[in-house]
Symmetry: C2
Subunit: 221 residues, 2 copies
């Protein structure tokens, strides 16, 4: 269990002494694809570390549609912020595919944070990063055109200057579209246009970026 916990940046570099009470209180959970983990308004009694699979965090709009806020992938934690505040979850969560996670009681984390400055700093760093990502998201969401959103999304996956990189889309295209605030149809059309411009290619469920600089140009309009 301790080894598993150390996957998360949150718990790396913690001494075994500090990690032990957390490990003892945590338990492993498995979920099938599509399973509901919690819904908006549920009391936040635990935070999660994803070991395998991915999780969709979303909100329901008043007319029943869902807006994807974040997609959590293996190795990442979520619900850290709420565990500390003692507030109910601000989003719904459900498993995208088969899922393995570690559930960590919020109270144990709270207790540890109070004693252990190292963990507190880690959590601060983690939350700061999340804030930064949200700033990026808000910026991306208000970028006007669908093409710019998609280009920006792909560029976030590219590591360096290398040409011809592959991108593995998390789950289905429809989900990525939702993440970007687009309809599946629109996403498909944008991909089609990019393909006929020679910017990308599709190869067995992967996106191959042929011309990163052209992608950058599309994002910048």
């Amino acid at each position: 269990m301790e080894q598993l916990l150390r996957i998360a940046p949150l718990f790396q570099n913690l001494t075994q002494h500090d990690l032990l009470p957390i490990a003892n209180a945590s338990r492993k959970v498995s979920c099938v694809a599509g399973q509901q983990l919690f819904i908006e308004g549920d009391p936040a009694i635990q935070l999660f570390l994803v070991l395998k699979g991915s999780v969709r965090l979303y909100r329901l709009t008043h007319d029943g549609k869902e807006k994807v806020i974040e997609i959590i992938r293996a190795g990442e934690t979520f619900a850290e912020s709420v565990a500390l505040l003692g507030r109910p979850y601000p989003v719904c969560a459900s498993a995208i595919d088969a899922l393995e996670m570690i559930a960590i009681p919020a109270e144990v984390i709270k207790a540890q944070v109070e004693q252990n400055t190292g963990l507190a700093l880690k959590m601060l760093a983690s939350l700061s990063l999340r804030v930064h990502r949200f700033v990026n998201d808000i910026h991306a969401l208000s970028m006007s055109t669908a093409q710019q959103k998609v280009a920006g999304y792909f560029l976030a996956f590219l590591s360096a200057e290398a040409d011809e990189q592959c991108i593995q889309l998390p789950s289905t295209k429809a989900l990525v579209a939702a993440r970007l605030g687009l309809q599946p149809e629109t996403f498909s059309r944008v991909l089609g246009r990019m393909k006929e411009q020679g910017v990308i290619r599709e190869e067995n469920a992967q996106i191959v970026v042929l011309a990163p600089e052209k992608l950058r140009q599309l994002r910048d309009e």
Copy 2:
């Protein structure tokens, strides 16, 4: 200085012993309206507590327009998250009107957080709140129509169930429009429609909400 610092939730309830080094390292700054505080990419060497006036946090899109990410009002702090990470500012900041702030060196905060669990917890709570607000913002941004955004924005100001509440808009309407990701013209049109539906009224630069439940209905489509 110490009294001023205690305005912020971040520093309330800190012992004088803990607050003193922070107070000693901080200094007061004044700005004229429109003054640039920092731009995106600047090294983040200090965080700010606004005493008087308000601050616009924004990003520049690639074609030179600016997207308002947040509006910080008197009594609030900003740039807490970056001060800890040692990363450059992810946004630009400029004064909306005449401004008085306290600038607190990031290093002092970092040093104090390492020693003082109380401050660490405060900062965690503050960042958690910010994350929650961003979640709300992302949700609001992806709500489709302009009317829904405006209704949601107004509803966030209403405290309880009381009818006939006044809302003081921060600064100009154009700025609020930018905050909502709308053009001033669109914002104006939405206000006009709400007025002729008897949902709101305008009275010397204030919005008077006449029918909160109608507003809720508009937000929910």
